[in-house]
């Protein structure tokens, strides 16, 4: 009963030491809906990990800016050699980890090799698949050699999964992260909050905040109350759109609507019996009233999409016209496909509100055109097992939050099983293309192809509904990647 006595004694200690921290304007408390399971972005997929550590504690060679651009970070500059098959990075010098260890080119090699190695547990191992080897040239120079020319490498290296760790502290990153960022980890009260504090020895521009706290509140009512009571200063991803009008009306807060990389789609199993028929998929697309879903599930927050592409991206094409809400068209298509009034589909819904609420609305909408659904609410673990890995589903709703991820439609055996050789060829060409104009054209082609094949029901782009105290500036409005970058955040008075 070791832990038992320990908790009792610490309880008593807690009763003895009672003090309270003075709030100062160099503090900030950020609300987050989900608590990260651990703090190692290279060992888990949870978005919440990056939302705490990205750009705050850990840095990579490159990083995303607030507008989604790829900027230098630990690499101050780079050169592309051998027709795009070799990238030579020049590293920032004088960088130290939070524990005082020096940052060197060896660490870059270690981190990238670790991420792509045989026994890697990196969730985005695919990002590094093209790398053949990492070559340390000197302490501040490192070269990455590629199998094929890759226009995405700098983008890929900006992901949280590609941050640079010290070999000495990598193993304990899950609970005691040691990075090179402007903040260092100080405390984690599991189930409640994580505290980080300013890194005085930061190599770059010093940050304005002394301390920041990430407080985890998933319950929307509690989130609302926490904001109202001032327990939380900002909620960059406010979990309950239903409360936003109330918060907007409050002069203390500003509500910032931005975009995320989350394409929320009604995924269809393209190889299931009924849905392998494009007419049925098209019928479903016509049966869906996107605005009703955005209103009913997201209380009006969200942008309708017609393909798997973020509207804020420069290459975006509005393809919603391919699948307008048209119940008659839907019924006619179903009749044509010969499944009129006799189609029952399973609809598996993961936990987020967009899925659970949206699913109920979609079920009702499909019923109107004569498609019955069997709703099953599943936890994420089951969703991954049954839907993502097992492909045991007809329909599901999920938001794909990775940036520029239309490439998933080219993957073999991906859960919605699109499997179109033309599309695969297109993406293959896109990946080795480095000319921006060509890339733009290819992206537009890809969007159109996916849209016209009615691969999935494209619903809406998840809005980033941020709520923050009026006096805070520098928070990201949009969410090019999952992060709460606090480097530029400050209080106005």
């Amino acid at each position: 009963m070791k832990f038992f006595t320990r908790s009792v004694t610490s309880l008593m200690l807690a009763a003895v030491f009672s003090g309270s921290a003075l709030a100062a304007k160099t503090d900030i408390t950020i609300g987050m809906a989900l608590e990260p399971p651990n703090l190692d972005p290279t060992g888990g997929a949870a978005a919440a990990i990056d939302e705490v550590v990205y750009a705050n504690i850990f840095e990579g060679l490159t990083r995303f800016g607030a507008d989604g651009s790829v900027n230098p970070a630990l690499a101050s500059e780079w050169a592309i050699e051998e027709e795009g098959k070799r990238y030579v990075f020049t590293l920032q010098s004088g960088v130290k980890y939070h524990d005082g260890a020096d940052f060197t080119a060896e660490d870059v090699k270690f981190s990238l090799d670790r991420a792509r190695g045989e026994d890697s547990t990196n969730a985005q191992k695919g990002l590094f698949a093209n790398i053949t080897d990492v070559e340390v040239i000197d302490d501040t120079t490192v070269a990455v050699n590629l199998e094929n020319p890759d226009g995405n490498l700098l983008f890929n290296l900006a992901w949280g999964d590609a941050i640079i760790l010290d070999s000495a502290s990598a193993e304990t990153a899950a609970t005691a992260p040691v990075g090179t960022g402007p903040f260092k980890f100080s405390n984690w009260v599991q189930g409640d909050r994580i505290d980080i504090e300013r890194n005085p020895d930061y190599w770059g521009e010093a940050v304005a905040l002394e301390k920041a706290t990430f407080k985890f509140i998933s319950e929307p009512t509690a989130a609302f109350a926490a904001l109202m009571a001032g327990d939380v200063d900002a909620f960059p991803n406010y979990p309950a759109p239903e409360n936003l009008p109330q918060l907007e009306a409050d002069p203390r807060f500003s509500v910032v609507l931005g975009s995320t990389e989350g394409e929320t789609i009604l995924s269809m199993n393209n190889k299931s019996e009924a849905l392998s028929d494009v007419r049925v998929r098209k019928a479903i697309a016509h049966a869906i009233d996107r605005q009703a879903i955005i209103d009913g599930a997201m209380f009006g927050y969200g942008t309708p999409i017609g393909s798997h592409f973020a509207p804020h991206h420069p290459s975006y094409l509005d393809l919603t016209g391919n699948s307008p809400f048209d119940q008659d068209a839907a019924r006619a298509l179903l009749k044509e496909a010969g499944v009129e009034g006799d189609l029952t589909l399973s609809l598996k819904l993961p936990p987020p509100a967009y899925a659970r609420r949206g699913g109920e609305i979609i079920a009702a909408q499909l019923r109107e055109v004569g498609i019955d659904t069997e709703i099953e609410n599943v936890e994420w673990a089951q969703w991954l097992e049954q839907v993502f890995k097992g492909k045991d589903f007809d329909l599901t709703i999920v938001s794909h939050t990775e940036p520029l991820d239309i490439g998933i439609y080219a993957r073999d055996d991906y859960y919605f099983q699109y499997d179109n050789p033309n599309f695969k060829e297109l993406i293959g060409a896109f990946n080795v293309e480095t000319d921006p104009e060509q890339r733009d054209v290819m992206l537009k082609q890809a969007q159109t192809m996916v849209s016209e094949d009615y691969v999935n029901g494209f619903l809406f782009q998840l809005a980033k509904t941020g709520v923050a105290n009026n006096k805070i500036e520098g928070l990201w409005a949009n969410q090019p990647t999952q992060a709460n970058d606090l480097t530029g955040v400050s209080w106005t008075d």
């Binding site: 009963m1 070791k2 832990f3 038992f4 320990r6 908790s7 009792v8 610490s10 309880l11 807690a14 009763a15 003895v16 030491f17 009672s18 003090g19 309270s20 921290a21 399971p37 651990n38 060992g43 888990g44 997929a45 949870a46 045989e118 026994d119 890697s120 547990t121 990196n122 969730a123 985005q124 191992k125 695919g126 899950a174 009260v189 599991q190 189930g191 409640d192 909050r193 407080k215 985890f216 319950e219 009512t221 509690a222 609302f224 109350a225 926490a226 109202m228 009571a229 327990d231 936890e379 994420w380 673990a381 089951q382 991954l384 097992e385 049954q386 993502f388 890995k389 794909h400 990775e402």
Partner: protein
């Protein structure tokens, strides 16, 4: 008495062993794989396998069972798959919330129930009795999470006397911690207090009909003296049983309330762990709760013997 203790402890251990087998077996059939949960949608199969090996999930069932049990005996509950921290640390962390919450809810329930039950029993059939019975009847019927919703709406959002949820930790001070637990404790205590008050009342009424209470009254004790000196202690046996049950219930059964108030307690830990397929945590916490229930039952039995000398003989 010693032999009695020995017998009780033997059956306690037997219960725990059987329970551990049941828990382990049930957990084995839970669908979902922690490794793929942790790695998300973009992970490749060999990454998942690598993580499974790292977590020890590729071992056979029997070695895993014995590893788990022998670990628990040494106080080592294993390492959480998702949090990557020792389960024992997490549990002790969560107990810091659940234990004070359960204790304060129980204390509150007792503090409310005893005067109410005593008052109702001593004024049987009177107005006070009717009022107490009506309130407790309602208290038993109200779902505690629904009651909690209104508490939040009024006290946290409207008046902002308390925070609507979350737990700041004890390092901000005892009262700061207690403040966060106040509303949940009230929400938990209301139905329990109602049940307790009703049990106490009916138990007292039963005892008040006993011959020895009449004997006491014939000695010249007033109704009230007889109630306090002779009835109360005898009426404690069913009340102790209920208190014991309530404590175990509050420790684990606060899941829903912990969800409403977003408290990092044991209940939420289980709930989250099941959702995340963090099976080692689920197993260990359930075993811990079973242990707590069995232990409380055992303590209640000892309390019986303290209350009633007839039980001291060892049956």
């Amino acid at each position: 008495m010693l032999f009695y203790l020995f017998k009780r402890i033997t059956s306690l251990i037997a219960t725990l062993v059987v329970a551990s087998l049941v828990v382990f077996t049930v957990i084995e059939v839970v669908p979902g794989d922690p490794a793929s949960y942790m790695l998300g949608m973009n992970a490749s199969e060999d990454t998942v396998q690598a993580l499974k090996t790292e977590l020890g999930l590729n071992q056979g069932r029997i070695p895993r069972y014995f590893g788990w049990v022998s670990g628990m005996l040494r106080g080592d509950f294993g390492t959480s798959y998702t949090y990557r921290t020792p389960v024992a640390d997490m549990v002790s962390e969560r107990l810091m919330v659940s234990l004070p919450l359960a204790l304060s809810a129980l204390t509150l329930a007792i503090v409310l129930a005893f005067p109410a039950g005593l008052l109702a029993a001593s004024r049987r059939g009177g107005a006070v009795d009717s009022i107490v019975m009506a309130i407790t009847q309602l208290g038993v019927a109200i779902p505690n999470f629904w009651f909690a919703m209104w508490l939040v709406l009024l006290f946290a959002i409207k008046w902002q006397w308390f925070s609507a949820g979350g737990f700041p930790g004890w390092d901000i001070g005892f009262w700061g911690g207690m403040k966060a637990l106040t509303l949940p404790a009230i929400a938990l205590a209301l139905p329990q207090a109602s049940i307790l008050a009703r049990v106490l009342r009916s138990s007292l009424l039963d005892v008040l009909n006993e011959d020895y209470v009449r004997t006491a009254r014939a000695k010249g004790l007033t109704r009230r003296q007889a109630l306090w000196r002779h009835a109360l202690r005898n009426a404690m046996i069913p009340v102790l049983t209920i208190i014991g049950l309530q404590f175990s219930f509050l420790l684990a059964g606060a899941i829903i309330i912990e969800n409403v108030f977003f408290l990092p307690g044991l209940g939420r830990l289980i709930f989250q762990s099941i959702a995340q397929r963090d099976l080692i945590v689920v197993e260990s916490v359930i075993m811990l709760l079973v242990f707590a229930v069995v232990l409380v039952t055992f303590l209640v039995d000892i309390a019986y013997a303290w209350v009633d000398p007839r039980m001291r003989r060892g049956h």
